[in-house]
């Protein structure tokens, strides 16, 4: 009696695993069977979920620059083929890798979505400018597509514990602001941006304009002076070239020393790659770790 029940249970599990699953995404949705093994990822933010599920993608759109991948993720990657720029991934290269799942960005890859679908089942999810909570939801969607939902659910629970622990030590009354500096000027990450969501999750207050609808807000010195955060976390994309030029100019501005973050010596440099590009679980944990180190 009992062994038969066990066999029956085992059989349903096997059949269940082989059965096609329906997964809803931002595109037409996809039907997928079993556990995909050869995954191609077209945006940094999806990499996180795939790696945490215990897979290493065969192809990544890494802008031909592996240094932009979060170090914690990079060291867990096996050999992969770069499929080119996130904005213009090479369809030929993707097809040659014979993937069984492609994860693409709603924003960047809408135009090539039908072509990608012809190559392999394609999961289309928003990535640019998504909120922290969306990242967590997408993690589970990717888990479903990979047939490894339980594994990611467990990792998500661990993530919550990790973030709770950081939250206890980080909580403070001062306001924080994450901004990136580039050749085009200062871009403040608004309340809907990933890094701001992570900071709120950690019990911190962000100095962004509340009403802002955009995730990324370009500001002039005047508006920056108005936001006037107690802590400025600056990600400088031009750090390797000696720092963004406009920022050097800002530092010579007569009102610069009156800014709270400058006055209190609370201007900190962080990696724009970890804080802005790596919108994932590990990215969020990296932000928390950076904050713990920097906000002492």
């Amino acid at each position: 009696m009992f062994p038969r029940l066990l066999y029956g249970l085992l059989l349903t599990m096997i059949v269940g695993a082989a059965q096609a699953r329906q997964i809803a995404d931002a595109g037409e949705g996809l039907t997928i069977e079993g556990q995909p093994q050869r995954v191609v990822v077209l945006e940094y933010s999806f990499l996180d979920a795939v790696v945490l599920a215990g897979l290493s993608p065969v192809g990544i759109a890494d802008d031909n620059n592996p240094a932009r991948i979060l170090p914690a993720l990079r060291e867990r990657l096996a050999d992969y083929r770069s499929v080119g720029l996130r904005s213009q991934p090479s369809l030929e290269l993707i097809a040659s890798l014979q993937p069984d799942l492609i994860i693409a960005d709603l924003n960047r890859h809408q135009a090539v979505y039908p072509a990608l679908q012809q190559i392999a089942p394609t999961l289309l999810l928003p990535s640019r400018g998504i909120e922290y909570s969306t990242v967590l939801d997408e993690l589970l969607t990717i888990g479903q597509a990979l047939g490894r939902e339980a594994q990611l659910q467990a990792r998500l629970a661990e993530h919550e514990r990790i973030m709770d622990r950081y939250r206890e030590t980080l909580a403070r009354d001062e306001s924080l602001l994450f901004a990136v500096a580039g050749a085009g000027g200062m871009t403040v990450h608004g309340p809907k941006a990933f890094a701001s969501g992570v900071m709120r999750r950690l019990g911190l207050r962000t100095a962004t304009p509340e009403q802002a609808e955009q995730a990324y807000i370009k500001v002039s010195f005047e508006q920056f002076a108005y936001l006037n955060p107690d802590w400025l976390l600056l990600g400088d994309y031009q750090a390797a070239q000696g720092g963004a030029e406009f920022f050097l100019r800002w530092q010579r501005h007569p009102l610069w020393s009156h800014l709270s973050a400058v006055d209190k010596r609370q201007l900190r440099r962080v990696s724009p790659y970890s804080w802005s590009l790596a919108r994932g679980l590990l990215g969020a944990e990296q932000i928390a770790a950076d904050l713990q180190e920097q906000l002492r």
Binding site: S87, G184, P209, Q241, F246
Partner: protein, 350 residues
Amino acid sequence: MKLASAIKAGQPGQFGWFGSTGLAVLLLVVGIPAALLGGSSFQLGLAELNEALFGDARSLAAQLILTVRLPRVLVAALVGAALAVAGALMQGMTRNPLASPGLFGINAGAACLLVLVQSGLLTGLTGLAGLSELPLLLVTGSGAALAGALVLLLGGGWCRPIHPVRLVLAGVAVSALLTALTRTLLIVDEQAQQVLDWLAGSVAETGWQQWHQLWPGVLLGLLAALLLAQPLNLLALGDEASAGLGQSPQRLRLQVALVVILLAASAVAVAGPVAFVGLLVPHLCRGLAGGDHRRLLPLAALFGAALMVWADLISRLLVFPSETPVGIVTALIGAPGFLWLTCRGRGGLV
């Protein structure tokens, strides 16, 4: 026939010169305080303006007006004046009403060199590590001047006499080439896309430092332009008539070209390629006050300045609190304005 049309173009327009100048001055007098105070998250009012300009400027608001707003408005006005005068000179020199300072490849040259430097490609090609740390202004200024010189050389210049049509064709070709190069670099290097805002033209990041870098070149260019006004009037009579009146059209074209490059390169280096000011404003002024360059050039300077000051104010309000590049606003005003002017057929030379 040529003479008749030239004399007609020289007649004052409907408004007359004094009326038009009054209008431009009024636009500036209202626009400058509005741009100094408007579109801010801070509470800026006339009291703060008074404190900033005539008081001891101790409050934060007054400090902001003095250190952020004032240089920005002054730079915007001067850039507008420089572009408008450069456009008027360009149209007078080529006797082509569609000519604009951009035809010298100045915008494309500045953008191309900037993207080359920002993407690190130039460093890779030349092996000079310090290139990517050069100040923005030096990079864009050199790019603009180099492209201008190249177009001048191709269009005739030092060895051959300048031919207006050849010059325009050379400008179109060089601009297209440089723009294609810029686009390619932007596609290949995602990080270089950060210069997209600069490519649209913006005065958001300008301070006193930019003002000090801008005014000597523009002042020199404007004075030189005024000296060239009467010779340009003679050139409007045609090359033969102008030569018969004792001036060399070739030498004049070279002089005007150098002044245009000086004015436009100064403006582009500081504010990026601001669209339509150099094309629209000279047209508008010619319609208002006629084609006499002695009147047209100062009027174009005033209207160019007024247009940029207002466009800067609008650029701040458009997607508040985010900054919109001012070049987008001038294009939004300029494109329909230009269509309206051409449809009315009062473009002077048209």
